[in-house]
Each structure stands twice: as C-alpha cells, then as structure tokens.
C-alpha cells in the first residue's frame, strides 16, 4: 500500500519571486512612457463623427483642443450645444484669448505650427461650428483638425 509513499518527503519548491519587481518595473516603465494624461475633464457630450480620409496628428504638444457638444449635465445647463475650453464652458468670443494664451505657452519656433483640434459631437449643428471657425480665423489660428474616428461616413450617417 505504501509503495508510493515510501521514502523521502516531497517538498514543494516555491517559485522564486525575486524577479517579480523587475517584471513589474518593466511594465511600469512601459506605461509611464506611453501614457498621455487626459487633457481636460469632459463637460460636454462628445461622440465623434466618422471619416476615412484622416491624418494622424503628429506632435501632441502643439495641439490645443476645443470641445463642442451638449452639456453632460442637462438638468443644470440645458441641451443647447456649448463650447468647452480647458475645464469650463465658454462663449465663442473667449476663443481668441484661449488661442493667445496657448500660443504664448509654445516656443517661438513652434508657434506657426500650432494646431487646433476641434472635437465636435456629430449631432451639433453647423451654426456654432461656423462661429468657432470665424473666431479662429480672427485669432489667426488657421491650422485646424476635425477630430473623427475611422469608418465610412456615408454608412454612419444612415445609422445615426
């Protein structure tokens, strides 16, 4: 009976965990390098429109964001689409100051390369977008990007 239990006691060798910190550190550094902090806390509904002729924005440091959409908190702020600059709602007239301050924060050589990325909800009407574009022109921030996500826009329009 005791044929298999004879002899030496079996010892379970513990797996060495000495290299665990190294592995974790490796992952940590990976995420530290790739991470991009969220620029702002969103206060508006933002579902991007769809397009497939897009380009990637190269240098994040040169990009400023303008969000337009219905306020998330509709009980307080209503359902009229609003513009969000930094962390607060703004009127179109405030864009000029916003652009000026962002431009101030860049190096002299980078200033002409500044890009404004418009993150606009797909259901917003063009009226407010046109106002924003006019303000951007007045602020001579002429490089813009209509932020979209990848897909066929004609299909997408049918689905909304």
């Amino acid at each position: 009976m005791s044929k298999f239990k004879k002899g030496e006691k079996k010892t379970v060798t513990a797996i060495t965990t000495a290299s665990l910190p190294d592995i974790i550190f490796m992952l940590l550094f990976f995420f530290m390098v790739t991470t991009v902090m969220r620029e702002v806390e969103l206060k508006v509904d933002y579902n991007p429109a769809t397009a497939n002729q897009t380009k990637k924005l190269e240098d994040k440091a040169l990009v400023s964001y303008i969000y337009i959409g219905e306020p998330l908190n509709k009980k307080i702020f209503g359902t009229v689409p609003r513009i969000q600059l930094n962390d607060s709602f703004a009127e179109p007239e405030e864009i000029r100051d916003f652009v000026a301050s962002r431009r101030e924060g860049l190096k002299e050589v980078d200033r002409p390369k500044m890009t404004i990325s418009l993150k606009i909800d797909r259901e917003v009407e063009m009226g407010v977008v046109t106002d924003v574009k006019q303000e951007l022109r007045k602020a001579s921030a002429l490089k813009i990007n209509y932020s979209t996500h990848e897909g066929d826009p004609i299909d997408a329009i049918g689905r909304y």
Binding site: P21, L27, T35, A51, K56, K133, I154, I157
Partner: protein, 195 residues
C-alpha cells in the same frame, strides 16, 4: 568606537510599490491617438481690401448643404454617395467638356507637359442647421476624390501610393502630383443657405 553594521534595506515591499504605480498609470493612460481631417482656414479678409476674385462659372463646383442635410451639387439634388465620382470628374475633366473646368498645359517634373484643370475651385457652403456629421461626410468625400486621383496617378507613375510617398527624398514627387491635382476646396463666407 563600535562600528555599526550596515543593515540591508528590506526590498520586499518594492514589488508592492511598483504595483501601485503600475496600476495608477494603467488607469490614467489613454492609448487613443488623435486623428481627423486636417484643413487650413483662410485668413480673415481685411476690411480695406475689397477684391473680387474673378472665377469663370465653369470652373466652380458648387456644393450646397441645407439644414435637412440635403445636397445640392451644381444646381442638382444629389445623394452623397455620388459626390465622390462627380467631384472626380469635375477635377479631371477627362473629355474636355465645356461645362467642366478649363484646362491648360503646364510643365511638371517627372511628368513633362500635362494638361490640368488648374483654375478649378470646389466651393462648399453649408447652412447653420446642417449637422456636423453631414458636413464631415461631405468634406471626407471631397478629400477622398482628391486622394483617389492622386493615388491613381502616383501608382501609375511611381508604383506607390501617394500616401506612401514620404520623407525628403520623395518631396519632389509629392509636389509634382500636388501640382497636377491641387486641392482647392473653398468655403464661402458664412451666410444662410435657404431651405
């Protein structure tokens, strides 16, 4: 003097600290890269200058979008899925149609003398009530028309797609193609399009 023995720091909790940091970065990370349709706005016209650019009627491709997201192209109602083909035909004017833009011969590197519709303009007008999704779709289709033409040309001449002509060594090639198919999308000064 009794020499103190150097005690080794206990590194057992190192993994925990690293874990904590790791989880923080995992949560706060956003992997998305921002992509979209890049456009250049025209500078604000100065009050003093009041020049009217004279463009022949046949050289303008008028695209109107009303507040019901309907498309009027060159005076005709059109579905958006036909816009790309129509725009391409306008840009190329393959049969020298008298209603499509005028062509002229220009000298281009790599291609020699080419007949191009140098003076064409695509004019895009939208109403304040047009939805943003529709506006982007129209912009996308117009951009697609140019990109397809450029890609075709680039494939025929260089054997690579236009989008793959990158870097400084291909700068001249890119320029040549852009000279043959210059992207000219003009957005009218805002006003209310009826409907």
């Amino acid at each position: 003097m009794a020499r103190r023995e150097l005690q080794e720091i206990n590194a057992g909790s190192m993994a925990d600290i690293a874990f904590l940091l790791l989880i923080f970065f995992l949560v706060s990370t956003t992997m998305d890269t921002d992509s979209g349709i890049v456009r250049k706005l025209p500078p604000m016209p100065e009050e003093t200058q009041d020049e009217q650019v004279d463009v022949k009627e046949r050289n303008i491709f008028v695209v109107l979008v009303n507040r019901h997201d309907q498309l009027l192209v060159e005076g005709e109602l059109m579905h958006i899925k036909d816009l790309r083909v129509t725009a391409k035909e306008f840009i190329v004017n393959p049969h020298n149609d008298i209603d499509l833009p005028t062509k002229e011969f220009i000298e281009v590197d790599y291609f020699g003398e080419v007949e191009v519709t140098k003076k064409h303009v695509i004019s895009l007008q939208n109403d304040r009530g047009t939805s943003y999704a529709m506006y982007i779709a129209v912009q996308n289709e117009l951009a697609a028309a140019y990109n397809e033409l450029r890609n075709d040309l680039s494939m025929r001449r260089f054997g690579v797609k236009f989008a793959d002509l990158k870097g400084d060594e291909n700068k001249d090639k890119r320029k040549a193609i852009e000279e043959i198919y210059p992207m000219k999308i003009s957005e009218a000064e805002p006003k209310n399009v009826g409907g």
